[in-house]
């Protein structure tokens, strides 16, 4: 039976059903509701046989998960933004050691300037950490991806992060079909670790490796990710068999059949894009969408297959590589190498700025009208006047001061609706 439930609560319920044995977490918005709820569930005994560690930092959270997983326990944590970056060193360590930790990332912007709202700067910064990255389109998918993540992680002995848009999903009340304990128990086999700390069979884990074998160990990490390209669809298929609904997988093609223009995106933006595609189709335009559910490993062949017939590919992403361009855009361009498709890198929705249907529609209109330069990184919805004013101001005076504070002052009190009213 479907429940009307907050995304974080739904995810906490889903994680509970997966029966983690160790949860270690440190609070950060917008992940807090997930870990608070899990704490409740451990205390009430709903999540029995689980140790919940309230650690001193995200670095400690991931480190405790590393220890717990190496001792053979199913381990889970959740974080966001700065917290994910604070974990960075431990993320690479968990994947290097091949430990199947599962983590929810409630996607949030990275400071400075500090900002608690949604974008994908956090998980994208960790894209090369050796973790599988799955992006949820909806709260239903966030729930479903957690069961899949544990199965995937433990099958391949690789850590998996489930990314869900902070606030947009974590704090949204939606109708969600929550699985039963029996369903999840049937879907997830008990965790049999590929390596474990055991006095009856002592092993050394985490030895120092020099040039003689380092590349080989790293090669095996890569091979495991490549294997995940087969395993992710397999797990999604098994999920559909067990739960009767499609969820997960590598990609989500939407009305791609004859599309000559395709919008590529990740996470909750996909729903908005699909609605825009419907409208464009109604207008007789051959536009489709492609959702990237699995960004790491990068499904290069599948992306090439899905987009190979398109003339224009518009990649809308909530993060970018500062000084370089789009991140998903670069990966997409790589997948389309040698094909005629023109790829447009569009950065949108940074720091919680809404990506609206009207915005996406006007973006596609611009692409179709050749008003977007495909050789340049495009910042959707950028307040050019504000940027110009600040650049102009910085040109005068030897010490122009902090940009962020000046730009906020120039905007006026946003909450009061008074814009451009404050003295500059």
């Amino acid at each position: 039976m479907p429940s009307q439930i907050e995304g974080s609560q739904a995810v906490a319920r889903a994680v509970t059903l997966c029966r983690p044995q160790v949860i270690a977490a440190y609070p950060i918005s917008p992940q807090t509701h997930i870990v608070e709820s899990l704490s409740d569930r451990v205390r009430t005994g709903e999540l029995a046989g689980c140790e919940y560690l309230m650690v001193e930092s995200e670095f400690g959270a991931m480190s405790a998960c590393i220890g717990a997983s190496a001792a053979g326990a199913r381990s889970y944590t959740a974080t966001s933004s700065q917290g994910l970056l604070f974990m960075a060193e431990a993320l690479f360590n968990a994947s290097g050691l091949g430990l199947p930790v599962v983590m929810t990332v409630a996607n949030r912007a990275i400071g400075a300037p500090i900002n608690i709202w949604n974008d994908h700067s956090d998980s994208m910064a960790m894209r090369d950490s050796g973790w599988v990255q799955l992006y949820a389109e909806s709260n239903q998918e966030a729930v479903d991806l957690h069961a899949q993540a544990f199965r995937l992680a433990e099958t391949l002995s690789v850590p998996v992060m489930v990314c869900m848009d902070g606030f947009v999903l974590t704090h949204a009340f939606e109708q969600v079909e929550l699985p039963s304990q029996e369903q999840v128990d049937d879907f997830l086999c008990p965790f049999v670790p590929q390596q474990a700390l055991d006095p009856d069979d002592p092993v050394t884990i985490g030895a120092m490796v020099g040039p003689e074998a380092f590349a080989e160990v790293k090669y095996l990490m890569h091979a495991k990710q490549v294997a995940a390209l087969d395993e992710v669809p397999r797990v999604a298929h098994a999920f559909r068999e067990s739960f009767g609904r499609p969820s997960g997988g590598l990609l989500k093609p939407y009305r791609l059949e004859d599309a000559d223009t395709v919008v590529v995106t990740l996470g909750s933006t996909l729903g908005t894009v699909e609605e825009v595609v419907d409208g464009l189709r109604d207008d007789g335009l051959r536009v489709g969408a492609l959702g990237i559910t699995c960004f790491r490993p990068w499904p290069l062949t599948e992306v090439r297959e899905a987009l190979g017939r398109a003339a224009r590919v518009v990649v809308v992403e909530r993060a970018f590589a500062v000084g370089a361009g789009g991140i998903v855009g670069q990966n997409t361009r790589d997948a389309l190498r040698g094909l005629p498709a023109q790829v447009y890198d569009v950065v949108a929705g940074l720091g919680g700025r809404p990506i609206t249907r009207a915005g996406v529609r006007s973006l596609v209109d611009d692409v179709l009208g050749d008003r977007l330069d495909p050789t340049r990184l495009h910042f959707h919805d950028l307040d050019h006047a504000l940027v110009q004013r600040e650049l102009e101001r910085s040109r005068h005076g030897a010490r122009p001061g902090p940009h962020a504070e000046h730009m906020l002052r120039a905007l006026g009190t946003v909450a009061s609706g008074v814009h451009d009213g404050a003295p500059g």
Binding site: V22, L53, V55, S63, I66, A68, A73
Partner: protein, 333 residues
């Protein structure tokens, strides 16, 4: 195991040699049944105090837990010299993750064992002073305040020896390191800095805190056994001279550890739940100079013209430690 003839000796420093003791009181190292958790063949330097300390700590802990022990190791000399791929000197389950997270990893292992109903298996975390008092300090404090069932052992050789002998928060004043060279008007490490983590551990009111040196290995083993009788967070800070980093002769490791204690510079103590319960008294007090002179890291204090003023400040530091912890029996100070 083949019978191995043990070399027994009397140290002349009031430390009892094994042959004076009943077999049951002899060190774990003196027994043929010892576990050799850190076995031979590793790449530690000759005279390494840390290797000596770790060997005693782990074998004593193995004996205390009947072999039901897991070790977590922070990055550092001990990790590097014991596991050059594909070899390993560890004969117990052993996990190395990172430099700054040893205590948190150990907490995770302990939590997993509890969740699995296997908490008869005990967890020991180990790191050098850098991994304990500096980069791992947040994780250590977190492990303490949660009272996780971990014995964390710091092998304190007073600097970052693995990276080439740089200063740590446990480096003593005036000591020369690679980034506190004997240059300028105040040669060596600065006075008025550094921290003594055993006291900070005590402030967490954890069940057991102790210090020890590799000069008194009976005492070290005793403290490990005592620590293993407690559940919850425990901390053992072991003073381990580093011949390479200190510029000392490799055969002087035990002697220097003894002089550190006997000069009053390093207090050997025990505490339970935040209260000091015992100190090892100085048996034959020596001036700090006797401890400092054999070490090249203090050579700038004894050259020509030398720095008697700095030596005097170090003596004052030892005197303060002696007074603070009551290290000299009544009437002798």
């Amino acid at each position: 195991m083949a019978f191995q003839q043990l070399k027994l000796y009397q140290t002349g420093t009031f430390v009892a040699g094994n042959r004076l003791l009943d077999p049951e009181q002899r060190t774990v190292q003196a027994r043929t049944g010892r576990s050799n958790s850190l076995t031979s063949g590793h790449r530690a330097c000759r005279g390494c105090g840390e290797a000596l300390g770790a060997r005693y700590v782990l074998d004593a802990a193995m004996r205390a837990t009947d072999g039901q022990l897991v070790a977590v190791n922070s990055t550092g000399c001990l990790e590097v010299f014991s596991t050059p791929y594909p070899e390993s000197s560890w004969q117990l389950p052993w996990l190395h993750s990172l430099f700054g997270n040893g205590p948190a990893v150990a907490s995770g292992v302990a939590a997993a064992l509890r969740a699995q109903g296997r908490d008869h298996i005990r967890v020991i975390g180990q790191a050098g002073d850098g991994g304990t008092v500096d980069i791992g300090f947040g994780a250590l404090s977190g492990m303490f305040e949660r009272n996780d069932d971990v014995l964390f052992v710091c092998y304190d050789n007073e600097g970052y020896m693995n990276t080439g002998v740089q200063r740590s928060g446990a480096t003593p004043p005036a000591a020369r390191t690679a980034n506190t060279k004997a240059l300028g008007p105040e040669p060596g490490n600065a006075f008025g800095q550094g921290k003594f983590v055993p006291l900070i551990a005590m402030a967490h009111e954890i069940p057991y805190v102790a210090t020890a040196t590799v000069a008194d290995l009976h005492d070290l083993e005793h403290k490990v056994e005592t620590a293993m009788r407690f559940r919850g967070a425990r901390y053992l800070h072991v003073f381990v001279p580093c011949p390479l980093g200190w510029g000392a002769a490799s055969e002087d490791t035990v002697k220097l550890a003894r002089l550190a204690k006997e000069s009053g510079l390093f207090p050997v103590l025990e505490a339970e739940h935040g209260e000091l319960t015992d100190v090892s008294p100085i048996r034959r007090q020596v001036p700090v100079e006797e401890y400092l002179r054999p070490q090249k890291r203090y050579a700038h204090l004894f050259g020509d013209p030398g720095r008697p003023d700095v030596v005097a400040r170090l003596q004052a530091r030892a005197d303060r430690t002696i007074a603070r912890f009551g290290l000299l029996p009544e009437g002798e100070d």
